[in-house]
Amino acid sequence: MPMVLGKGAAVGAVAANLALAFAGGSEAVAQAPSPAIGLTLKSISVELPSSDRMFPAGPGSEAVNNNCLACHSAGMVLNQPALTKAAWSAEVHKMITVYKAPVSDEDAAAIVAYLTRLKGSSSPHP
């Protein structure tokens, strides 16, 4: 049943009648059954946490900290398993060629060496 809805009386809210009773059963999409009750979308303003976590100090850590943390926090990398130098090189170069991270050749080599030292694997795969 289409409903024409105006904006809610309050600024920053958009209202619609929504049925919270859920149509069960195997039918994938069902029109909402009555009774309907109101749901109002409310404007939102939030703050997302940032991370000040740095890479462990060591040869190349300055290159990693300087180049990598603009786009993503360190946790993602530190949560990675041991990977081969080839796998780390592929990751670093994906950041540069696909995701356009402006990393110098010199720093890219230092980053690959750092990550291989921190989380290297000698197994042939991947």
Binding site: P2, K7, L18, S45, P49, S50, L69, K100, P102, S123
Partner: protein, 410 residues
């Protein structure tokens, strides 16, 4: 923070603003790191993850990455019911420039491209269309990636990059019909309000075939589990593609573009591709494998009330329960084996809340002395059954091997 920023010349101002934040943001992150930790049983590790309550509108989550956020649902949540609470629903963003202020009066969803009448819809406009709802599992393509062996790079999730919600919104078909799709349309591409930090990097976009987009099931959701979406889950609008992996469920949906040709953008054509083989399976190091975009989900099932390593008592009546989902269609059966997959017996299925959702299952066991394994196996209504051996591919996608829970019997 003594930290030289090498990107100052080349990144956008908003990226830098989002980068290191303010003193208060630094305090938030310090608190987050000091919080409790949990252990994920990932082979070879690292296994430790922080637990965080620092994200807006979210309860305690497993912190995989702070920025852009990757938050995993703690697995015990899945034992509490088939619907995953909004504040515990997993979170995954690709790019770090995420609007943190959304005004419901000024937000617009545009429909453009190969259409007769391009649209700019307010939220009131969207909500005035016929309302639909359905239960559906939203699962990351890489859910369970951390269990791949050999390990692969990526978000190192355990099994908690999934959730099930009652999605409420409008049919994508109705929105497309209002714009009037022109003859020759092939794909419909979706983009949200998130952006890359670095100029020139590919904006996150995904597309589906025009026929899929108009199937009456794909929807634009403005509510999940009866409430507006948390911002980090895509407020105010999120695409819902029932039965398909989460990568298609574009968050903060603000652009719908009808294409008259194939979609060559990176995120559809290159990223999120799988081997074109049964189970998306390949050998580590195998070359020249034909790749195709990831698409429909496959069946899975999990024990939720007994964790691996739990102690149970010999001769005691022991309830075992869990959840299953059929992937691209409903659950036909869930079977349980306690003899290493030699024999299976059916579990009892709980209420059917819709074929794309989680289905609870339960059974009772009487453990004999000695250690014990419990395996659960889901078969969907298309007859697709979970495999006995894990798949492997270089992206860590589509894991759905039969899970085994080891129990100690005393």
């Amino acid at each position: 923070m003594a930290f030289y920023d090498p990107f100052a010349r080349s990144v956008t101002r908003r990226g830098l603003l989002g980068q290191f934040g303010t003193a208060s943001a630094a305090l938030i992150s310090a608190r987050s790191w000091a919080a409790a930790t949990t252990s994920l049983p990932l082979p070879g590790g690292p296994t430790e993850r922080a637990l965080t309550k620092d994200f807006p509108e979210k309860g305690e989550m497993i912190l995989q990455r702070t920025r852009p956020p990757l938050l995993e649902t703690p697995f015990d949540i899945f034992d509490k019911g088939v619907f995953t609470p909004n504040d515990r629903f997993f979170v995954r963003w690709h790019w770090a420039v995420i609007p943190t202020d959304v005004n419901v009066d000024t937000f617009r969803l545009t429909v453009h491209g190969t259409v007769n009448a391009p649209l700019s819809l307010s939220l009131s406009d969207v909500m005035s269309l016929p309302r639909v709802q359905l239960a559906a599992v939203n699962q990351c393509s890489g859910n369970s990636r951390g269990f791949f062996q050999p390990r692969v790079a990526g978000g190192e999730w355990a099994n908690g990059a999934m959730g099930n919600a009652k999605w409420m919104g409008v049919r994508l078909k109705d929105v497309l019909d209002r714009a009037g799709v022109k003859a020759g349309a092939q794909r419909v591409r979706f983009a949200g309000q998130d952006d890359p930090v670095v100029d020139g990097a590919p904006k996150f976009m995904k597309s589906i075939d025009i026929d899929h987009a108009r199937d009456g099931e794909v929807m634009i959701a403005y509510a999940m589990n009866g409430a507006q979406l948390p911002l980090v889950n895509g407020f105010p609008l999120r695409l819902v593609v029932p039965g398909w992996y989460s990568t298609y469920w574009v968050k903060m949906l603000s652009s719908i573009e009808v294409l008259d040709g194939p979609d060559d953008n990176y995120w559809t054509k290159t990223a999120y591709t799988i081997p074109d083989t049964p189970g998306a399976n390949m050998k580590p190091g195998e070359a020249n494998v034909k790749m195709v975009p990831i698409n429909r989900m496959v069946p899975r099932s999990f024990v939720t009330n007994l964790r691996d390593g739990t102690t149970v008592h010999a001769g005691a009546d022991t309830p075992v329960r869990g959840i299953a989902f059929g992937g691209s269609t409903g659950v036909k059966t869930v079977e349980v084996s306690t003899d290493g997959a030699m024999s299976w017996r059916p579990a009892e299925l709980g209420a059917d809340e819709g074929k794309y959702g989680f289905r609870q299952w339960s059974t009772r066991l009487t453990p004999a002395a000695g250690d014990m394994t419990v395996m659960a196996r889901c078969t969907n209504t298309d007859g697709l059954v979970q495999p006995a051996t894990p798949n492997w591919n270089s992206s860590g996608f589509m894991r759905n091997v039969i899970e085994t829970t080891h129990l100690r019997v005393i």
